[in-house]
């Protein structure tokens, strides 16, 4: 019982980070049908920025760095839209995927030139504090991951579903031409969505980084998992991305705890194949 609740908690925490990253991917896929692999690079940039903010301003600056990182990476995401993805809007989906792959290489290659290859540690002030909730224990940092990711996901969900701008994003993702006809500036909406998605990925990087190491290649695993999540949830579905993130986190955590940790990573990918065999368009198709 103790073990199962500990595993479930771990699953919720990892799942919340997957959900946040997948939400970013899903928004971008929804609006331009781009499988934006570059978000793995943006996730890594988020972690590196946090590392430097904490190094310069002290570890108490850790949480304050989150909004700063998000603002910078929203700008970065908007740049990738304006100078890369916008130019291939009419191209086949596979082509836009190669653009995303190229951007990822630039981000990873660039950061290993600028920041170096060595893995770095972020000293978060919350890493040392262990909270005991009955039989299960969790560091404050990991609890913070969960809280921040869930809050951000909920805020973005409400933004997309309840505000006028959100409505514009949803309209543009249904049909670019019709959205144009009712007076929506589709270019601006795309820019905004790429920025927003990138900001979310970087936020996930900021939150997860103190519990892992920071290095140029750190984004590859998370972005791959995030792809699994949005397929699991149904391409482009916002609710699906959030729920799918938690499902994946749980499956991985329980699988690693009860079956074998050697094939820990295989669970995430195996579960997707099983789901696709029975539901070829994901669990919560839009």
């Amino acid at each position: 019982m103790e073990q199962i609740s500990q595993q479930l908690l771990n699953g919720l925490i990892t799942g919340s980070a997957y959900a946040l990253m997948a939400l970013g991917l899903a928004l971008i896929y929804g609006i331009m049908h781009v499988a934006n692999f570059a978000l793995g690079g943006v996730y890594m940039i988020g972690a590196f920025l946090t590392f430097y903010f904490v190094m310069w301003f002290g570890s108490s600056f850790y949480l304050l760095s989150l909004p700063l990182v998000m603002i910078i990476t929203i700008g970065l995401g908007a740049l990738t839209e304006k100078f890369a993805f916008r130019l291939v809007r009419e191209a086949p989906h596979a082509t836009t995927f190669i653009v995303a792959l190229g951007l990822y290489m630039i981000l990873e290659g660039g950061s290993s030139v600028v920041f170096g290859h060595e893995w770095k540690m972020i000293s978060s002030p919350y890493n040392e504090l262990v909270l005991k909730l009955g039989p299960i224990s969790v560091t404050l940092q990991r609890l913070l991951i969960f809280v921040v990711c869930v809050v951000l996901a909920v805020v973005v969900y409400l933004f997309v579903m309840k505000t006028l701008t959100g409505k514009m994003i949803r309209a543009a993702s249904q049909n670019h031409d019709s959205a144009c006809l009712v007076g929506i500036n589709v270019n601006w909406v795309c820019l905004l969505t790429f920025g927003l998605g990138s900001g979310l990925a970087a936020a996930a990087g900021t939150m997860i980084a103190p519990t892992f190491m920071v290095g140029p290649a750190m984004g590859l695993g998370p972005v791959t998992k995030a792809f699994v999540v949005i397929i699991l949830g149904g391409m482009g579905s916002v609710q699906g991305a959030i729920l799918g993130g938690f499902i994946l986190g749980m499956v991985e955590s329980l699988g690693a705890g009860y079956v074998t940790s050697m094939y820990k990573d295989a669970f995430a990918f195996g579960i997707l194949i099983v789901v696709l065999i029975f539901k070829p368009t994901g669990l919560f198709q839009r």
Partner: protein, 323 residues
Amino acid sequence: MSAPLTSPKFWVYFIFLLIMLALPWVLKGRYGIYLATMVGIFVILVISLNLVVGYTGQISLAHGAFYGIGAYICGILQVREILPFWPALVVAIIGTGILGILVGIPMLRTRGPYFAIGSMCLGIIVSLVLLNWQSLTGGTSLGGIRGPGQLKIGGWMIDFLSNKVYYYLVLIFVVLTIFIVNRLIHSRVGRAFMAIREEEELAEAIGVNPMRFKVLSFAIGAMLAALAGSLYAGYMGAIDPDIASVGMSFNLLVMVLVGGSGTMTGSVIGTVLLWMIPEWLQAAQQYRPLIFGFILLLIIIFMPRGIVGWLRAIHPKVAEWIS
């Protein structure tokens, strides 16, 4: 291939083949021949992936996995001394083909991005199994693969341990692959593949069974990938799970799309180019991945249909010669 002697197309093929035949005598040193041999193996891989991606329209990210499985079947059979190279190569091709059918039937029910990511997951699982099933695969590396060794025909002896001889062996298989795939795409079956690529429902409406042809294309692709894998295993003598990684599948997809998906020439150009760019960038040292990313981005932004697609657009005559 059926082009008359006087057509420019024939001469383009002819000159290309002459260059390929002369290559080992022009290139300096072992490294040059090594590169040429690897490019040859990759041409087989990229053409077979192009059959699935470019002609049948299914973005597969499991191709690296089939390459790896082929290499491992061929390698394990030799290391365990169950079969020598040539029969092992045949078993690897047939075995991987059967696996392609078994995997293709459930996976090809999914479409578009679902198939792309589903096949990617398959590829990841294969590379994890190759790494972790140590009693079978030897874990991080499998060495001691003998390869084709020496072949005695009458009084002649062909020594495949020689780099030049192995290059010509690979070249024969490259020409064979180009010939088979070329025949295939100009047949009824190939037209069915392309009909599915354009519009699956429409293909079904005119009597093409999409599942059957998609699985066929996937399985043929897997068999050719296994051929490339076996040639690699026989050439290197040692293999590791990295050859089946998702990174490999990404690379192959990039080669297909940069060259021009759905064109035979594009696959060859894409493969050669993406092998040569990193070589040219050797002097750039740690900036290499960064510059490579920029080059890739620029090529694909300015030529969204690949190099051959771009050539076709600027000059229809050029397209006539090369496609």
